[in-house]
């Protein structure tokens, strides 16, 4: 079983996932170098599926590349570009190469990308895709055709705790958990109160025991990416006070680091949170400093010794 699957089974240890950089050309060695900053801290990393509706090397190819350089992949599967037949083929194809972790997303619309004229597919939606992956895991295609042996899959999903309808987001997360999601990577959230309410609702109803809740952290280096996310990434709202805090600081890069550190500390302080999903936009060796400040040891140490990070619950 995958390391992520084992951690989920054990039920009470810190989990760190990360967003792997996309691949646009180059060799495996180039890619290994790109992964080197974040990978040592992560239990598994996302092999993304045409992020923000931009074409890149495919999710399956990326997952296989990651395995070849010793990084455990989480195969992202979105609903935007492929119908249910192709989605099943991708999951089964990746499973053939030993990829077990699957993260099911609805996906950004084509209009979020650089080819907005493309046809959008959305044959399935996110919750349906989770259930579909669950069917594969149970040994059958959607058609009912048998798969023997069934692939060993560790199924997860995403949710945005910070956008509307706010009171409904935890219910939607619960729907995904009931459909078979065992981990939930959250969208980056710049409203701590919203993240708290979302996690508390899932925790109060026992859903955080069945599913690892992993809030996203985006390590930014200045106000630019904050402004970009606010204006250009659907579903992300960055309050003006957060942007000006970083923009107006004497040392923006350091202020941005402190913001990210506080976000991590806040997320990890919430009962029901199992770990973090990290994205590194700084690319300046800050990940080691961040993990050291949080008291998170590298994966290799967490693997070989007891994973003793004190979670809030």
């Amino acid at each position: 079983m995958s390391r992520l699957g084992e951690l989920l089974d054990r039920g009470n240890e810190l989990i760190i996932t990360g967003e792997a950089p996309v691949i646009d050309g180059g060799t495996l060695a180039d890619y290994e170098a790109k992964l080197a900053e974040l990978a040592p801290w992560c239990d598994a990393m996302n092999a993304t599926d045409n992020t923000s509706a931009h074409a890149h090397a495919s999710n399956v190819a990326m997952a296989i590349a990651m395995q070849r350089v010793g990084v455990e992949p989480i195969l992202q599967v979105v609903c935007r570009d492929k119908n249910r037949i192709a989605q099943q083929a991708d999951i089964m194809g990746a499973a053939l190469h030993g990829v077990e972790n699957i993260c099911c997303l609805t996906g950004d619309d084509v209009t979020a990308g650089d080819e907005p004229e493309a046809r959008r597919v959305f044959d399935l939606d996110g919750p349906q895709l989770i259930r579909l992956a669950n069917s594969l895991k149970e040994g059958r295609y959607l058609s009912g055709r048998k798969i023997d042996p069934a692939p060993s899959l560790v199924i997860g999903a995403v949710e945005n705790p910070a956008t509307h309808p706010l009171d409904y987001r935890a219910q939607r997360a619960a729907k995904k958990i009931l459909a078979g999601a065992r981990f939930l990577q959250l969208q980056i959230c710049y409203h701590p109160d919203r993240l708290e309410a979302f996690v508390a609702a899932l925790h109060a109803n026992g859903f955080s025991k069945r599913c690892a809740i992993l809030p996203s952290i985006v390590a930014v280096k200045g106000a630019g990416p904050l402004k970009f996310m606010h204006s250009s990434v659907p579903g992300i709202d960055v309050p003006a006070a957060v942007i000006s805090r970083v923009a107006d600081a004497a040392d923006s890069a350091e202020e941005a680091y402190q913001l990210v550190l506080e976000q991590c500390q806040h997320a990890l302080s919430l009962p029901g949170v199992r770990g973090l999903h990290l994205t590194d936009f700084r690319k300046d060796s800050s990940m080691g400093r961040l993990c050291a400040d949080l008291g998170i040891r590298p994966r290799s140490e967490r693997e070989s010794r007891a994973n003793d990070f004190a979670l809030a619950n």
Binding site: T106, R120, D125, S135, T163, H164, L178, N205
Partner: protein
Amino acid sequence: MGLIATIEHVIKKPIWDCQMCGQCVLHDTGMTCPMTCPKTLRNGPCGGVREDGNCEVKPEMRCVWVKAEDRSRNLPLMPADWREHFNNLRPPVDNRLKGDSSWKNAISGRDKETPPGWTPETEAPAAEVEA
């Protein structure tokens, strides 16, 4: 399009902007047609809803699911089980039914047929989770 489908379309198009998917779930989605969502999502809003509650794809349009969620709670005269069904996991669309009368398919039960590999709902939906 047959006679029944034509009558259905004439009635439902002006009121709900019916897209004639042939497997109507309006009653479970706050009397709001999920097929008018640009992503045709049948199981709730995507993560791209804007801060003003409008659609990721069409910024001038209210998110279909923000509307649906509000109506499922607040629309008067709706039977209680219609409200409760809001959280159900609705199965994938059967694309063969597009253009058919959903009334006809509801009476025959055709609209309830799911692919053999689709796992049936084994647990109650999560209506009790409240933020």
